[in-house]
Amino acid sequence: MGDRNSQQRENQIGYVVGGGLKEGLRVRLTVDPQSVQEGGFVVIDTGEWQFYGLITDIQLGATDPRFADEKVEDRLPPAISQLLHGQTLYANLEVLPALMLKSGRPEELPSEDASPIPVKTIPPHHAPVLLASAGNIAEIFGSPNEEGNFVIGKTREQGHPVCINLKKFVQRSSGIFGATGTGKSFLTRIILAGLIDYNKTSLLVFDMHNEYGFDDTASDTGKSVKGLRTLFPGKVRVVELGSRPSQPGRNPDFHLEIAEKDIQPEDIELLTRELNLKETTPTTLHALVTSFGIHAWYRHFKAMKPGTTIEGEDGKRVPAPDSVEAWANEAGVNIMAAVALHDKMRKLFDKPYIVPQPAADSLGEIIRLLKQGMHVMLSFGSFDSDLDYLLVTNLITRRIRREWEEMTNQHRANKKTVPEPRPLTLVVEEAHKLLNREMASQTIFSTIAREMRKYFVTLLIVDQRPSQIYDEVMSQLGTRICGWLGDDSDIQAVLSGLAGRDALRGMLAHLQPTQEVLLLGWGISMPIPVRTLRYDEEFYRNIKGGSKFGDVDQINRELGFDL
């Protein structure tokens, strides 16, 4: 008890002087205002309850404005002016209370009181306010020593480790946001490494910029960074789009080629913007499917030769039988529309990764690996245009959806003999390209975000423009990890649906441009800004050595457990 009291005295930074649940609490600071920061995690101990909150603002005040306006140092001796300032000038904190926990040892409390609950009352006047200890952080965000807790970073002021619960993180779709250059890719690598190490979900990473699988060089430091395949050689497979490696020395485990039979009309409609398709496209595609069947329409259409003619019986030139025009005439489709579509789809016909008969069933192999618990990094190699990305991600994801729905339905029909499907997380970079308001209804991803949790599939979207993502999808994101954002609309999008948005907005805007993120949402007990881990040698050592990055003994001591 004595230790606890002395620790309280050491950590105390002020006492409650006012406020409420809606506007937050006002705390009179008893230490130098420069020793606390916006976003600091504080604990208010009333003896009966511990309240946990975030510092959302720091304000200077004076008992009378004249004390602040006049520089009394020029008129009074230093000692007197110092005493005067001590009693008349002050700093107040605004604290956003988020959670409350019954005081006492967890094992001695009734089970309903042993976990933090959303704040429902407020501490009384003059309740002491303390900077959170590592034990307090562990009480709320989990101990680094517990299964499923992954240290994502440390508190900014005192460097206490902060965990995210990976089980919760993958239970619902999640998002990682941040403006370009804020370290999103490094943060994503760190989280993916954590998920691979945790090994409770398979990952399929649509690696548009070829960043995650292979070793790379950091653009800011010029240092080499390890790819996830290097870190987890037995668990990660790199698959590259196309039939040959795009870069020497980066040999994927296998290549992905798309069979022409797998391309469906909806894959083409999805590319309306990229191919500049007209409103007649769906009718033409429907006619193609009617003529040749769902698996053969693409092959037949590709084989057609627009504009070719032959001499007819009457000596006039007529469309050749293998021409687009001949098929359009026969199918009753507008010839101009069919020719235009064929012309626009030439971009696809020329893609070397779309082949009549792939050398292997690489798409099937990807799905097999994911079912087995492996993690797949799909590198787009040299095919890094939006067209490639949209087509391939949608096509693969549609197949995955079908497979996982089937597995789930089989499991539900016969729970005793058929196991649950292996949970799967699809990691989607540049998510706004697939999940913007216009595209969300056409791609499979919005369906996954809304419904596929029931089928054990969730999304991890990585993006720099969250405001461009359809708000219905944003509202489904359980955990949001957000780096610095410069645009107001992006900040607003990230905070949509969260309590205390106004207070959090300032915190988000004031994050450092790199290595600081705000953790938010359903999967995080309460919002907190953290300084993220560095993806460096120390991280490699820890993740390989199984260390959870925290001084467990210290945390246990602070939690009151005897060692």
Binding site: D64, I80, L83
Partner: protein
């Protein structure tokens, strides 16, 4: 025990003491005094005024061409009108306990007043939490800044003799707390304290 004089008149809040000029060299403006009233009961006060009234003869002497030193001395020692010392009650001691409250029974006429020793000053000023300051601050017709400055300087000297150098910091801090809602008065008091060259250390309250 240095007797200063005897009570001429009084009220619940203060009194006036009469004394001879020869006794006037001892009491100081802002000094702490005590008036024993009964066994185990004495009243403490702070000197806030010393008045030397003319006695009629002074006017005649001033109009004389030559004023001999012997005449001046005689006039001072054998005046008909005593020097009047005004005292603001600051508290009392009853059965050994110090109270920073107005005395329940004021002293009576001709009760003797004594200057407090360093020990008595320290005992009185260290009791409680500077409650007697409010009697001084309430006296709006007095030059509060001057009175406090003088009083604190005298008490600080006594406290330092008793090895308590931080008393003065605590006292100034308390004054700031009491006056922080009255900017004008506080700045006037602090200006007076600055002029008294009090030495304040690094105390943090």
């Amino acid at each position: 025990m240095i007797e200063i004089g005897r009570l001429l008149r009084g009220s619940a809040a203060g009194c006036v003491i009469g004394c001879w000029v020869s006794q006037v060299t001892t009491p100081q403006y802002g000094g702490l005094v005590r008036i024993p009233v009964a066994e185990n009961y004495q009243v403490y006060g702070i000197i806030y005024d010393i008045q030397v009234e003319d006695d009629g003869l002074v006017r005649q002497l001033l109009s004389a061409d030559v004023l001999d030193d012997a005449v001046i001395t005689d006039n001072r020692l054998n005046r008909n009108v005593p020097v009047e010392i005004s005292v603001l009650f600051a508290g009392y001691q009853e059965d050994g306990m110090i109270f920073h409250l107005l005395p329940p029974r004021p002293p009576l006429t001709l009760d003797a007043m004594f200057q407090c020793t360093d020990h008595e000053i320290c005992t009185f000023s260290s009791a409680g939490n500077f409650g007697y300051f409010r009697h001084i601050l309430r006296a709006s017709d007095l030059p509060v800044g001057e009175l406090l400055s003088s009083h604190l300087r005298l008490v600080d000297a006594a406290q330092r003799h008793q090895h308590n150098p931080i008393w003065i910091q605590k006292a100034v801090q308390e004054l700031i707390i009491l006056l922080r809602d009255d900017y004008g008065l506080l700045m006037s008091v602090l200006a007076a304290l600055s002029d008294s060259h009090l030495i304040l250390g690094e105390y943090r309250g």
